[in-house]
Structures are given as structure tokens and as C-alpha cells.
Symmetry: C2
Subunit: 245 residues, 2 copies
């Protein structure tokens, strides 16, 4: 009874106390789930099917993924990590180009799971779900995503001042979420509307960049960022990871 180790696995930190065998099993369940999600959508895929496809029992699936939603969280998590690597190798061109390239890359990676992702974008948008993008539990994912955007902007050849950087990073992250939402909703052939939108965004950022020095434009941006910031960060979390900047 007196057990020092938890009886449920915290899937947030994969590193945890997972035997190699355990990790293998966990992965096979995740892969089975993503395949099924891509094939028949999130709702239509039952946990029993997933377990069967992963060749394990129903209960075991729940050992590694405390809920169905957590499978989605894992997909999110993977994509985030991959994006970080992509961004690290990104040429130091303009903010506009770096930003849109990064998002386009996310589209490509998530492409095969677009339908699955669409099916779960619902979960992602549910604030009462512990898997919602803005939920406390997903703080680490937000932080990761925001960090990616910050690097995208900070390493550009036309990077803004340190002060503007934090403003643009938050707005850039919010826009990133919205662009994902748009992509998911875009039922035009080959998501052509999203393509056009990305071109528009790239052009617009390029045009607006020089105007950042005009206070009449820069100030409202800062203001907007400060308004939406508390919604992205719980009150206990630091707004800026590096207070030194």
C-alpha cells in the first residue's frame, strides 16, 4: 500500500521511470492511435480498437495514456520538438520568411494527420479539458512553442529590439495557433486558401516590419500583446523565461 512510486505514468515527461520494454509498448500504442486517427478520425477510433491495433490490452493503453486526449497531446508534443530542430537549422533571412517557413513546415509535418488533427483541434480548444492548449497542464508545451517563435524572430537578420521581441513573440505565437486553426478548417482543395493566406501573411509582415519604428503602429501592438498575455499564461507562470533580457 505504501508505494513511493506513482501508480499512473505522467506521460508529459517521457523520460520517467519507463523500462525499454515499456517505452516500446508506449510507442506502439501511440503509433497505432495516430494511424487510426488519420484513417477514421479521433471520435470514430475507440480505445479498444487502438489497444487491439497495438496488440495489447485496453487497460495497458490507459497505463501509458491516462486518457484518450493524452494521445493527442503526445502528437502535439512530438511536432513541437521536431519544429524546434527545424528552426535551429533555419537560414537567417527575414522575420517574414522565417516565420512563414516555420508554419509551413508545421503544416507539412502535420499533413498526414490533418484529419486527425482536425478531429482533435476540438480537444485542443476546450479550456475545460486538461489537454487544451491554454490549460495549466500544457504550460510546458506553450512555453516550448513560444520559445520556437522567439528563436524564429530573434535569429532573423531584421530581428527587432529586445523589447519589441517579446511583444512580437507573443503575437506571433497567437497567430501561429490561429493559422493552425485556419488550416484545420480549410476544406478547399489542397488547402489552397491556407496557401494564399500564408503568402498574404508573409507579404504583410514584410511590409509592416519597417513601420515598427513608428510609435503609432508599435504601441498598439505592445498594448495588444499585454492584453492577451494573461490568457496565455496562468498567473503563477513567468511571462518571460529570461527576465535578464
Amino acid at each position: 500500500m505504501a508505494n513511493s512510486s506513482p501508480d499512473t505514468i505522467d506521460n508529459i515527461s517521457d523520460n520517467g521511470r519507463l523500462t525499454p520494454k515499456g517505452q516500446r509498448t508506449r510507442l506502439s500504442i501511440l503509433e497505432a492511435a495516430l494511424t487510426l486517427f488519420a484513417q477514421k478520425g479521433y471520435q470514430a477510433s475507440t480505445m479498444r480498437e487502438i489497444a487491439q491495433a497495438a496488440d495489447c490490452s485496453l487497460g495497458l493503453a490507459y497505463r501509458y495514456f491516462p486518457s484518450k486526449e493524452d494521445l493527442v497531446v503526445a502528437l502535439y508534443d512530438n511536432t513541437c520538438s521536431e519544429l524546434r530542430d527545424y528552426v535551429a537549422a533555419l537560414p537567417k533571412t527575414s522575420m517574414a520568411t522565417r516565420y512563414t517557413s516555420t508554419i509551413r513546415n508545421a503544416y507539412v509535418r502535420l499533413g498526414p494527420y490533418r484529419e486527425a488533427f482536425a478531429a482533435i483541434s476540438s480537444v485542443t480548444m476546450d479550456p475545460s479539458s486538461h489537454a487544451g492548449v491554454l490549460s495549466d497542464r500544457m504550460g510546458y508545451l506553450r512555453r516550448q512553442g513560444i520559445d520556437v517563435i522567439r528563436v524564429v524572430l530573434a535569429e532573423a537578420k531584421d530581428a527587432p529590439s529586445a523589447k519589441d521581441l517579446e511583444t512580437l513573440t507573443l503575437l506571433g505565437y497567437a497567430s501561429y495557433l490561429l493559422l493552425l486553426l485556419f488550416w484545420v478548417q480549410d476544406r478547399t482543395e489542397g488547402q489552397r486558401a491556407t496557401d494564399k493566406l500564408m503568402k498574404f501573411v508573409e507579404e504583410t509582415i514584410g511590409r509592416l516590419r519597417p513601420l515598427l519604428n513608428v510609435p503609432m503602429l508599435a504601441q498598439p501592438l505592445t498594448q495588444l500583446a499585454e492584453i492577451i498575455r494573461p490568457v496565455f499564461w496562468g498567473r503563477d507562470e513567468a511571462c518571460i523565461p529570461n527576465p535578464s533580457v
Copy 2:
């Protein structure tokens, strides 16, 4: 067995073949549900509880509301109708004031059911769900919402030209959805962030309105509207109710 009438009620059109008694029952179920949602949230309220509170059987609840989600769709529907009335009586002030007043009014109406609304905002964002805002089945709700926004803008004392009106209507409706999304996600005390955002929006619209005549601002807006329009309308639906324009 050979039954010419459908065996499920299309809750979309309340008017339908519903006896006065049926309408009363439907209403009592809806009221019980909304009360429970407001009291203990959407998830925590079971259909059995709702039926019990409405003093009817479980099966009957499903006769009038094919799914739990449809209870919230009904809430959304009601709010839309009420908004239309509200807008009809709105003083002919500026676009900025009329627009933000309308949305603030929606917040007030939905306030008691914020959590319930949050719980289905997910569904609302799910393109694979037949209850998604952008799904074909909800076309009538989109049209209704867009019509409301059009009236808000068209009846303002600083109403734009007919051509700009369609652009601004679509952008205004899209923004309306986003502002609802923000409100739902806003966990600050009393949704203070949303309050601030609305002030910001009102001010910004007011500032930008005179610049509508500057092509360099107006043209990108039109461009943006045309990019997102196909995502809001299925290919079979008319983009503009009045093709004469």
C-alpha cells in the same frame, strides 16, 4: 412501419411539427439542461440528471435533442436570435460602438453558461463534427450571424460603401468568432482580459475607420476577406446573399 414523417426531430427548425405539448416539453428539457450546466458545468451534468430535472425519461430528452451537444447548439441558436433583436434596436452610432456593443451583449447573454459554451466551443471548432460552426449543417447559423454583423455595420452612421460593407462584414464575423473563442479561453477574474480587449477593439476600429479611404489599407483588407471567404462558405453556397452587388 411505413412512416412518412421522420422519427427524429430536427432541432434546427423549432417551428417544425411540434405539438404545443411537445414544445413545452422541449423547453422544459432545455431549461433544465441550461440550469444544470450553469450550476455544475457541462461535463458534470449527465443526460440522466437533465431528464430527471425536466421530469421526463432519458429517451424523451433524446427525442428533442439528438445529442448532448445539441442542447448547447440550441443555446447558441437562441442567443443568435436574441442578438438579432438586440441589433435591430441598436442606436445608429459608429460602427466601432455598434460592433463592440453587440459582442459585449453576446457575452452577457452567454455569461451564465460560459462553461457549457466553453465545453462545446470545442465541438464548434471541429470541422468533422456536424455541429461545427463551419460545417454545412450549421450554414443557417453562419448566415444568421453574418446577417447580424452586416446590419450592425450597415446601419451605423459611418457605414462604409456597399463594396467595403461585404468585406468588413466577413472580417467582422470572423473576428466575432475569434472574440468568442478568446472569451471562452479567458480565465482571468471576471474575464477582465476580454474587457480590455474589447476596449482595444473599439478604439482600433474607431481609429482605422477614416483610413478605409486609403487604398493601401483598404486593399489588403479586401484581399484578406477574399482569402478567407471560401473557408466560411461551402462551394455550393452563395458568397454574398445579394448577387446584385
